[in-house]
């Protein structure tokens, strides 16, 4: 009997050790995944806050333009639907495609992002990484998009894709691009989504 008890005890220790090791591996994998997701989010954030993207995600009554993100010329205003106002619609200058001979960018349905999708404060300063992440993942403020929906938006939305084909300035030089290629941006978004769209802590 003592030998049997010893055998049971050894078996129990072996099983417990195996379970603990398995649980530790799972916990480790989850931590790594979240860390990878947050690293991927940093990359996504670097794109979202580049001028080609954030210039139309203002918190104010106007869009911005240029790498210095100055207020749009000609007293352009947001309007009720983010498309300007009757005498001064976005579409009055911005056509379906870029007009490189005149330096005016264009794309389908040119418009400002709605105010609930602002990535700046009212002084035109970019919001923090945590704040933009919270906004982007808040389904009451993002057209009810879940993670796969956000990925699809980044992959397919014409105005998102325009950022990598922004055309030429009036002086003929090429507009600057976001810091990642579109493919890198999509890969980073996918990693972030796969990790459960984690957001950095803090304000």
């Amino acid at each position: 009997m003592p030998r049997l008890r010893a055998s049971v005890l050894v078996s129990a220790i072996v099983v417990a050790t195996a379970l603990w090791a398995s649980a530790s591996r799972f916990a480790g994998a989850e931590t790594t995944s979240t860390a990878q997701g947050l690293a991927a989010w940093d990359q996504v954030y670097s794109v979202l806050t580049s001028p080609r993207c954030i210039n139309c995600h203002t918190a104010t009554n106007y869009p911005q333009q240029g790498d210095d993100r100055h207020r749009h010329v000609a007293n352009v205003v947001r309007g009720p639907e983010g498309k300007g106002v009757p005498g001064l619609n976005c579409a009055g200058c911005h056509q379906e495609t870029n007009a490189d001979s005149t330096g005016v960018p264009g794309g389908h349905n040119w418009h400002l992002a709605p105010l609930e999708m602002r990535w700046q404060d009212i002084n035109d300063r970019a919001l923090s990484s945590a704040a933009v992440c919270r906004q982007l993942t808040d389904r009451t403020r993002n057209h009810k998009l879940d993670g796969p929906g956000l990925l699809k938006h980044h992959e397919e939305e014409p105005l998102v894709k325009w950022a990598w084909n922004p055309g030429r300035r009036p002086d003929g030089t090429a507009r600057t691009l976001p810091p990642l290629t579109h493919e890198q941006f999509i890969a980073a978004t996918r990693r972030w989504v796969e990790a459960g769209t984690p957001c950095p802590s803090g304000r």
């Binding site: 007293n75 005498g87 495609t97 330096g103």
Partner: protein, 158 residues
């Protein structure tokens, strides 16, 4: 060079120009319709405003190749409908014009506003006309004329 067929003030026109040519140049140089003015050339002043597909458009920065089959209305044709006629009449009644250079663009923007918003508020006028500059400073008379035109339109006279 390429051939483009465009509809201007209801008339089909054909032009043979470089595809990158701005609509303003086509109107003024090829079609000899000089009512639309060149002001700044960078869409900042509004003097070149015409309607393309019903949208007030800065013709100095839109290449002819981007027009497609959208109808174009210029200052020469805007008085052919009731709202345009009401605005032109109001411009005369209020004696808006001083030097006149910017006024065709001002009228085109005012017509776009009133076709969209027949009872514009002060803010509507401010925002919709905010991109049309007038170095003579006729802004108070422009504002008065828009209100006159709106009153005319809303009493059924347009």
């Amino acid at each position: 060079m390429a051939t483009f067929q465009i509809t201007v003030n209801g008339e089909r026109r054909e032009v043979n120009v470089d595809p990158s040519t701005p609509l303003l140049w086509v109107l003024r140089e090829d079609l000899k319709m000089t009512g639309t003015k060149f002001g700044c050339g960078i869409s900042a002043c509004g003097a070149c405003t015409v309607h393309v597909g019903g949208v007030a458009t800065r013709s100095c920065i839109v290449p002819i190749s981007h027009i497609g089959d959208r109808p174009i209305i210029t200052i020469e044709g805007v008085g052919n409908d009731a709202v345009g006629r009401a605005v032109q009449d109001a411009w005369v009644a209020q004696d808006v014009v001083q030097c006149g250079y910017c006024q065709s663009g001002q009228i085109m923007s005012a017509v776009a506003l009133l076709k969209s918003t027949s009872r514009p508020t002060e803010q509507n006028i401010e925002e919709s006309m905010g991109g049309n500059l007038c170095r003579c400073g006729t802004y108070p008379r422009i504002r008065a004329a828009i209100k006159t035109a709106a009153a005319q339109i809303n009493k059924g006279g347009a």
